[in-house]
Amino acid sequence: MTAHASEATPALQMADIRKVYRMGDNEVVALDHASLTVGADEIVALVGPSGSGKTTLCSIAGGILSATSGTVTVGTEEISGYGDKELTTFRQNQVGFVFQSVNLVPFLNARENLLVVDELGRREGKPARDRADRLLDELGLADRAKNLPSQLSGGQKQRVAIGRALMNEPRLVLFDEPTSALDTELGGQVMELIQSEMKARGTAAIVVTHDERITEYCDRTVRITDGVLAA
């Protein structure tokens, strides 16, 4: 198990988050006083209909968007006041993302897609290459390391994306509808993989979904409707 801060420190603490978009003279409230705490190795399913604010919540937790008000703490790092540069550095080091449509770099092979994270961020070199090889092995992709995304199946691509999200040994991984492009069986397999990888590492995860079946692989389900969270 990867040693993180003490087990007691939650991976994510969001307190009283508001996110308001201005559209002309109107204000659209995407998140309304949302508070959420995710334990150090907890997997939380975030379920809600389209436009309910799931993605906004995820984006704020991952340092992609800034909240209008409220505080966000990932591990021990409070990111609420961060500017663009600090948020970029934060994303390089503390969070992992798995996107809805598999967004691998098309001209890089599986192994290089993992190493992109290192190239854009810490630039560790050899330790990163070793970690990429280990991850590919764990994800059952050792023999696919040299394949381009176009030579991989949907499930394999999603596994590469999971590997990429774990490359920077994040505290928190955000999964945005990770199984929406997969059939039920493959979706189940990917969720099992996510579950085992997260638990083995003691890494927390938020899985955004509107598929109820996904929730069985998670420790807890949080529902969101019109920007309001309900446990």
């Binding site: 992609i64 970029t88 994303r91 992992g96 993302f97 996107f99 967004n103 770099v105």
Partner: protein, 365 residues
């Protein structure tokens, strides 16, 4: 940066069109530049070759050899100026020459020069009735030992050897002693006959370098002394050709810039989703933009290399003297540098678009 290079290597197809267009533009730029250099060379070679610090014309001649006339007493006063070490007479007459073996109307354009001080690359004056010929006359079929019949009076001149880069106003130089030149001038241009001791111009070598031109202008009335560089610029048409060609070259560089700007703007639009993902996982705008500039620079370098090789081959294929094309390493390098600047500026137009890519676009599908 490595990402950008990998994309170039792994997806060359995306860049082929831009590379071809840039190569064609680079060929055009280098070819036009070569033509300008060739034209200027063929217009100025005889003056550039002068190993001197100043050329002296008569004041009203407007730096034209044919209009100029320097009397022996003026020469004596120039020779008396402090720092003047050597003074030599120089004159030219531009005529058509009949070349053995060519048709009667197939004349070679020549400038017959009479000189006292040997220019750079030209030996001491040959014997009476003989001339050193510029290599560009090879294109007219001139060979060593040929007797050319020059001008309407068909004055004979025997070619005794080759010299290089001594053309004047596009006419190949024939370099003779002053008596031979004076004879050719009086036989063919009776309106421009010069008495013995009178020259069209003087070349002056001094211990004080270029400054001697000003000293002569200050000390001697009725003459205009020019430094060699000024004398080159004063040759009719030189400045005009340079200005015209440089404007065309400038427009060509601007076209390259627009092509690069449009191509990378399109590429950036195409990659918006990918850039969003890269930003979400920690790429800075700076890194993405640097990759874009790298691709533009590498693409332009490749195009410039191909174009450089192409114009060198073209230069070898075109027979010497057929067109005034002069391909030099400095022209290729200058063109390449101009294109690289265009590449950087052109790709910079995509900066705003790169900055505007929102990492949040990666989430939410």
């Amino acid at each position: 940066m490595r990402l950008a290079i990998k994309e170039l290597i792994r997806q060359p197809g995306r860049f082929v069109t831009a590379a071809i267009i840039l190569t064609l533009i680079a060929i055009l730029l280098m070819f036009l530049g070569g033509l300008l250099d060739g034209l200027i060379r063929s217009a100025t070679g005889a003056v550039r070759a002068q190993q001197a610090d100043a050329i002296v014309y008569s004041e009203d001649a407007q730096a034209s050899f044919l209009r100029s006339r320097i009397e022996p007493d003026v020469r004596a006063s120039i020779e008396a100026i402090d720092g003047v070490e050597e003074v030599g007479g120089l004159g030219v007459v531009q005529l058509g020459a009949r070349v053995p073996g060519n048709g009667p109307r197939d004349l070679a354009n020549v400038g017959v020069w009479g000189y006292e001080l040997a220019p750079d690359g030209v030996p001491e004056p040959p014997g009476p009735g003989e001339a050193w010929a510029d290599e560009v006359l090879k294109a007219d079929g001139v060979e060593i030992g040929d007797e050319l019949l020059v001008g309407p009076s068909r004055s004979p001149l025997v070619i005794v050897g080759w010299v290089e880069d001594t053309s004047f106003n596009g006419q190949g130089g024939l370099w003779a002693d002053v008596d031979t030149w004076r004879a050719v001038l009086s036989e063919n241009r009776p309106d421009a006959v010069l008495a013995d001791g009178v020259f069209q111009s003087l070349v002056v070598r001094s211990s004080g370098g270029d400054a001697v031109a000003a000293s002569i202008n200050g000390a001697v009335d009725g003459v205009e002394a020019l430094t060699i560089d000024d004398a080159i610029d004063a040759i009719p048409g030189v400045t005009e050709q340079q200005t015209t060609f440089n404007q065309i070259l400038g427009v060509t560089v601007v076209i390259a810039l627009v092509v690069i700007a449009l191509f990378f703007a399109l590429l950036t639009v195409e990659r918006t989703a990918l850039y969003g993902v890269l930003k979400a996982i920690g790429a800075r705008s700076r890194t993405i933009f640097a990759g874009l500039v790298t691709q533009a620079v590498v693409l332009t370098l490749i195009a410039a290399c191909i174009a450089g090789a192409a114009v060198v081959v073209l230069d070898l294929l075109i027979p010497p003297g057929a067109i005034p094309l002069y391909i030099s390493a400095s022209r290729i390098v200058t063109s390449t540098v101009l294109l690289l600047v265009a590449a950087v500026i052109g790709s910079a137009f995509s900066l705003r678009r790169v900055l505007r890519v929102d990492p949040a676009s990666a989430l939410g599908g």
